[in-house]
Symmetry: C2
Subunit: 393 residues, 2 copies
């Protein structure tokens, strides 16, 4: 019989896609130049040219399309481990790295492999909308607590209030989708301290699953701190979707900290979860591409420029927002409590924003600025009219 | 806390990989020319040259690596639907096709989307060893019944005995891994008849999940019949791993029959399962490759030749086996009841075979003949000695 949960997940309207599809209809109706579509997080910077070179080189190998071992090619796992160690000062081995079909696969397999049915996963709102789905699929209970509303940094009291003896995993996503906020070192130290005490209190490990696909996309800081630097029981989940602009190719990894409790068992359990979800091996051609390209730095100037244009516009029309340090999202503070209503109003001016409700928080509108910079510039009059409607300017 | 099931799946020795890895050590020890490795089902025929052409062509498109919609590019879904309709005389629409990361993904998502926790999945032994894992992951109970031992065709009495009111799905895999047997039309008609009656008796739909990655690999028959031709409630799962020799790239599909009960709900539920398992979209480059190449016929002459060489050798040394019509596997009937012991003995002569125990049946040894034909020829003396040991020749 058809289960109600999978049926629900398959038929539920995706809040982001809905806005995007509305935008397509609106463009046909009133003209593309009058629509300012900030709905989708699809990288607008092309993949670096070395990706094409790596594909051409891979085509010379007759074993290119063969199965690989399930966790990925040994050379790729070594390269990822080296990169992570150099970046975070940790000491993972290639055996701690499992190459996956993107970060979503890494996160859902990590939850499945670290949480027994009935146990709880905790996330921080605003959170990625798939976390509750992944948790429920593992038989777990999804809970969330809010970050500080003023700056989206750690609110230890809110976290304490949601932890129970059933807490098995805590999901961290910094730089954050949907807000672009980056958890600073102080926040991560507070988080680690709180979880170490909770482990002690409850007498069992609590694992952080750190979902970091936007790690390289930061604009004003030299580096994004990662939970793996401050907390031993951490699994890092990563994707090359954003840093190499390869979102459709589905390639990323999870890495188990070398200091994790039951490190080998954690790795094995996540591998078992991947097997049970039907992941045989990560796409073989793309494994070679990543091995050749993983140390390339993404060209983030475009995103930074876009962010600065958008922030300039919002400043000019006096519309409040949370200044984003990373990713390619910005959270506008809605001038009315109902974010859905605000986003509906914005549509009148051709502005397509995503209400924050599906991210576990009310009162914000997400603007994705991985778009054409010229479009952002042209959106100024629309934002001004929206702002005027609410008496902000 | 680490769940015992995922930990078990991640640490369990894979019977096939174990033999394969033993072979690597043995080759280093006694020389590669003295080892006859029939362990792995990795296609030995290279991908057709048009695959490379399609990759080169795809590289011209700047949107190549972008996200696609979750079920795959519209043109690819249309091409798959057209192909399936022409082949099976059905009337699927592109909306019935969901492109997946290979057949394993298609099967595990189909089970998850069609089976409520506590319900039962039934397979026919010998069966693919991942079916119990996929079923358990969906919260289901895995059951199996045997095919007729003499010819591996449908044994309706055995099937009747295992069906209950909790049966939600029946897994069919023809041509079969591990035996190479193909269910004939008579078997599929009996199966359909039995399941139609069971649906009537139990008052709810029972879905066939037809796992068909070896559909194109048949040698003596013009075409392999599919359950979708005889039974309305069928979901076809397919992979291009074998037909286009792309096993590492992970691309296939599931197709819901146009005559299935609750057709749209079935499709949505499977899509929800795919979402919950972290499948965002099938790899974007490979989607384009398949769209360009899906109607290519695989070059199966090599496999047919290999099969004929191996059958000739077994005939010559009087070792009994089940004549395989398809796939690239052959089932040797062990002359002793314990297949593991028989395969151990075979190792003495450098022969690497996989015991049938993990396929849900005792007394057989699997030989994968997707290998170098010359190696098969050279294995004659080894097979002769093995046969002599058991007094067969």
């Amino acid at each position: 019989m058809i289960p109600s949960d999978t049926l629900g997940w398959g038929t539920a309207r995706n809040c982001i896609r809905e806005v995007y599809e509305y935008g397509i209809r609106l463009k046909a109706e009133i003209g593309a130049d009058k629509v300012f579509d900030f709905s989708l997080g699809n990288p607008s910077v092309p993949a670096p040219p070395q990706v094409k070179d790596a594909i051409l080189k891979a085509l010379e190998d007759p074993t290119l399309h063969d199965y690989t071992v399930a966790p990925g090619r040994p050379g790729l796992r070594k390269a990822i481990s080296d990169q992570l160690n150099a970046r975070c000062g940790v000491h993972t081995l290639p055996e701690d790295i499992y190459v996956t079909c993107g970060a979503s696969a890494a996160v859902t397999c990590s939850i499945k492999g670290l949480l027994k049915p009935g146990e709880e996963a905790v996330a921080f709102a605003p959170h990625y909308p798939e976390y509750p789905v992944f948790t429920r699929t593992a038989g777990g209970v999804f809970k969330f607590c809010s970050l500080r509303r003023e700056d989206l940094q750690m609110d230890v009291e809110a976290l304490e209030a949601v932890l129970t003896e059933k807490t098995a995993v805590v999901l961290v996503n910094s730089p954050n989708n949907p807000s672009g906020a980056v958890l600073n070192e102080e926040s991560l130290r507070k988080l680690a301290d709180c979880l170490y005490k909770a482990q002690e209190r409850f007498g069992h490990p609590i694992y952080i699953i750190s979902d970091e696909p936007y790690r390289e996309l930061v604009y004003d800081m030299s580096d994004v701190p990662s939970p793996i630097q401050f907390y031993d029981n951490t699994v890092v989940c990563y994707s090359y979707s954003k840093s190499l602009s390869l979102p459709g190719e589905r390639i990323g990894y999870y890495a188990v900290s070398d200091r994790a409790t039951d490190r080998e068992k954690v790795f094995a359990s996540l591998a078992g979860a991947a097997r049970s979800y039907g992941y045989v091996n990560p796409p073989s051609l793309m494994q070679r591409v990543i091995e050749a390209c993983l140390n390339l730095k993404p060209d983030i100037r475009t995103y930074k420029e876009n962010r600065d244009i958008l922030c300039g516009i919002l400043d000019e029309v006096k519309m409040p927002y949370i200044h984003p340090d990373g990713a390619f999202y910005l959270f506008i503070r809605c001038p009315i409590p109902d974010a859905k209503e605000f986003c509906e109003h914005a549509r009148k001016y051709g502005l397509l924003l995503v209400p924050s409700n599906d991210f576990g928080i009310t009162g914000y509108a997400r603007a994705a600025y991985c778009v054409n910079g010229e479009m952002i510039r042209r959106s100024l009059p629309a934002f001004r009219e929206l702002s005027r409607e609410y008496g902000l300017c």
